[in-house]
Symmetry: C2
Subunit: 375 residues, 2 copies
Amino acid sequence: MSIFNIKHQSKKSSARTGILKTAHGTINTPFFMPIATYGAVKTQSSSDIKKLPSDILLSNTYHLYIRPGTDILEKAGGLHKFMNWNDIILTDSGGYQVYSLQGMRKITDDGVTFQSHLDGSKHHFTPEKVVDIQRSIGSDIMMMLDVCPPGDANKKEWVEALNLTTKWAMRAKKYYDQTKPLYGHHQIISPIVQGGTDLNLRKQSAMELIDINCDMYAIGGLAVGEPKEEMLKVVNYMDTILPKEKPRYLMGVGTPADLVENILNGVDMFDCVMPTRNARNSQLFTFNGKVNIKNSKYKDDFSPIDGNDFSLMSTQYSKAYLHHLFKTNEILGLRIATQHNLKFYMHLMNEIRKKINADCFEGWAKDFLCRYNNE
Amino acid sequence: MSIFNIKHQSKKSSARTGILKTAHGTINTPFFMPIATYGAVKTQSSSDIKKLPSDILLSNTYHLYIRPGTDILEKAGGLHKFMNWNDIILTDSGGYQVYSLQGMRKITDDGVTFQSHLDGSKHHFTPEKVVDIQRSIGSDIMMMLDVCPPGDANKKEWVEALNLTTKWAMRAKKYYDQTKPLYGHHQIISPIVQGGTDLNLRKQSAMELIDINCDMYAIGGLAVGEPKEEMLKVVNYMDTILPKEKPRYLMGVGTPADLVENILNGVDMFDCVMPTRNARNSQLFTFNGKVNIKNSKYKDDFSPIDGNDFSLMSTQYSKAYLHHLFKTNEILGLRIATQHNLKFYMHLMNEIRKKINADCFEGWAKDFLCRYNNE
């Protein structure tokens, strides 16, 4: 039985809406996932996230493995219970974090050896181990361990990365098929397409992973520093290769404009630290672009942040108050800004789904991208 | 017309319940005020505070004067509108903060000159100026500028402080009577009794302030480092001097045990940074004493923090999860702990009011103080 049903396919682009089915409920696509690195979206409670509304969040395998560790997560009965979140959880493979670590980090055919950012202790991730960790977490959607080269990698590195990624995906799938969930609910697993910005390599990676026959496909190795045009070119091409009937997840992307442009290319799932991290750096998203609330021009601006009424910043607090909270380092400021930005992203995705279903997404997207010209 | 009605006077102690009337609603006494230094209770939104439930909060005149400043507060239409809080606000006089400042600070008959903690700029507070600032804030209850000597002051300093406090109170009352609220709602003003821990000086201070004829009386200059027995002795004595029919506010106090003991001495109003500050330092209050949630014994303790079900920590999150949030420096941990401690204080005050009304407070207090033996 398929985990994904397409609800509406746009006639003028690859944009589509659909329904993704998981053990913790169904979710309308395309969607954006707030990041709960350590099992908490920074400043927000699990019920805040539910009320955005978001039915899904992303948590980081590497971080949860380091703290609290799989023993605590297993004793808790999994991450859902640990963090009091009864909706969908996707976990990444931990690979991206491991490759970003300073210090010793060695990739072999078997896996990757690295040192904890916390205490320098040595650890080893294999495709099998990463499945095990995500079994301990109990995420609804698990990612396979891949090799993700940095943005300045060359073709030789892309080839090596994609070859190892395919081998590891085959091992991960085999191990996944041999093991069972720990908490009784089904866990989806997804491979990750690599290949840098070389279309032939991307095709090779995708074809090899399609052979493994999984329920969904992720596009990795993008948003790592390459020019935006290159990213769009790759995703546009992947749209012609990846099976239409399965959900596509573009990892680590991105700005509001990135979401709109990649949905035109048939992407269904996104995640990014941008709404939450930028909020903590005083940057707010609005339908007319970005606002730095610490700018002194807001100190006596008692108007709401946005004409829309979807967030606290639009309905309960003024720009002047949020400016004051940031100037006085009040944690409440981080909370309000984070909630605003996440609500902006959720509101944006909801608008997009409505526009796709109404067969008018492409015109709306053109207008949005024109107004939102701050990339 | 009196702002205060006594509802129930205990026969076995000076404990009483009552109703305090303000321009932003009535509130049951005795009560505890959460601290919103800069117009925000640290980590909590105004609606979080309302939902505790608390009908009142305390904000700091000195801090609001420095940031955002009275010009912004006036443009906003007062602090209520600025911070989106439609309930009661009490502001302190700013004196306590000014006397705590490092660096230049000079008290004369006219007032006190000091340097901003932010940029070293020079400022001058007089009894009249402090009324003006609180008119700009629009607080429902304003405090008069007093002189608050440190905990290690001697009798000579206490005498000087009380004499100046009386003079300033007379000036403040005169100026208060000559000025009008800026936002159309009535503002109560309260003098502050000084005199250190010398009962004769306390009596002198109280009698002089009673002559000024205000609607309520505050007891200041305590909880500044003196032994607890001295504090209780002074409050117990003030109970025999201050008019029974007016509310009494014991400033900056205190621990849960302090509240219980001073309510026995007829105090109606309290404020303290303890529940909020201690929460941010990982200390939780429970009916069985204090808990440091960072202690490693909580890392796999999935039980709720307290048998009671009045807070998120009792109903939605485990000790192990909060332990994890503190270990990973997640802001959500500060939020949950703060909310827990404030709910503990609010729950405690609600219990106390019920016990007083049921004429069984004294026995309950004895039992509580016995269990809560961690002062």
